[in-house]
């Protein structure tokens, strides 16, 4: 009886250790995707940021992309942005704020089943164009919208 209990304890301890190791291994998303592009995120102008993030700054304006953002943002620290792309085969998306110190806010790599829809919140230093850039079939498409900011979001 006592012996059985020991075995059970040993068994569950071993299983616990394996589980911990697996989850530790899975905690590194760096292995599954491209490295964080420092150059793109530190670029000071829109074209340089786009080249770093999407490989080119040559984006055609498209009405197939919907950019939802407020006309006036009362708080520049939290500006909700929703980008919807209806272009088939959308693989990448980026959101830029033209007059921010570093325009590139974020870039997304979509999986094969992922729809062209991203919603997030960004910081805006002052009134600026928000630009959404979509990559589909190796080509770039963009759309933009001006958002007026009444209080700056960066620098407190």
């Amino acid at each position: 009886m006592n012996h059985n209990r020991r075995t059970l304890l040993k068994g569950s301890l071993a299983a616990g250790a394996v589980g911990a190791a697996v989850s530790a291994g899975l905690l590194t998303p760096r292995t599954v995707m491209a490295a964080w592009s420092k150059a793109a995120f530190e670029a000071k102008d829109v074209n340089a940021a786009l080249t770093g993030a999407m490989g080119s700054a040559d984006a055609a304006t498209s009405d197939q992309i919907k950019l939802k953002a407020p006309d006036i943002a009362e708080n520049g620290a939290v500006v909700p942005i929703t980008v919807t792309s209806k272009i088939d085969g959308t693989t990448n998306m980026s959101i830029l704020v033209a007059t921010n110190n570093t325009p590139l806010t974020s870039t997304y790599e979509l999986g094969p089943n992922t729809q062209g829809y991203i919603s997030t919140r960004v910081k805006m230093a002052k009134t600026s164009d928000v630009i959404a850039v979509v990559k589909a079939g190796g080509k770039l498409y963009s759309t933009k919208k001006e958002v007026k900011v009444t209080i700056g979001g960066c620098g407190g």
Binding site: T102, G111, T114
Partner: protein, 104 residues
């Protein structure tokens, strides 16, 4: 950094809508401490990865211009109720967290 992620995923007609909130300061490195006048070091999430059923659904790279306590929502097809979904993030200081849940 345990339990920094709140995750909701709902499947409807094969399309899953994922919403997640991460609690993180997202310091840009540009702000100054009002008392000491010293700059507050940058601390922001750089990478967010979402996996469902062992496949990567979305890989996001973020800069410091994403708001404090970031919100992220996206959709993907081919999902059904009960599928596993996992979100993980890594910030510029090397901190990370992940959360696994199920699609409702």
């Amino acid at each position: 950094m345990a339990k920094s992620i709140k995750l909701r995923a709902k499947a409807k007609d094969g399309v899953a809508t994922v919403k997640c909130l991460i609690s993180h300061p997202m310091e840009t490195g540009l702000r100054k401490d009002k008392k000491t006048g010293k700059p507050i070091p940058a601390e922001f999430i750089q990478e967010v990865v979402c996996e469902s059923g062992g496949k990567t659904v979305l890989g996001a790279q973020w800069g410091s211009a994403i708001s404090k306590n970031p919100f992220l929502s996206f959709k993907f097809s081919g999902a059904k109720s009960g599928d596993s979904i996992k979100i993980s993030w890594v910030d510029n200081k090397g901190n990370s967290d992940s959360h696994e849940g199920k699609i409702k």
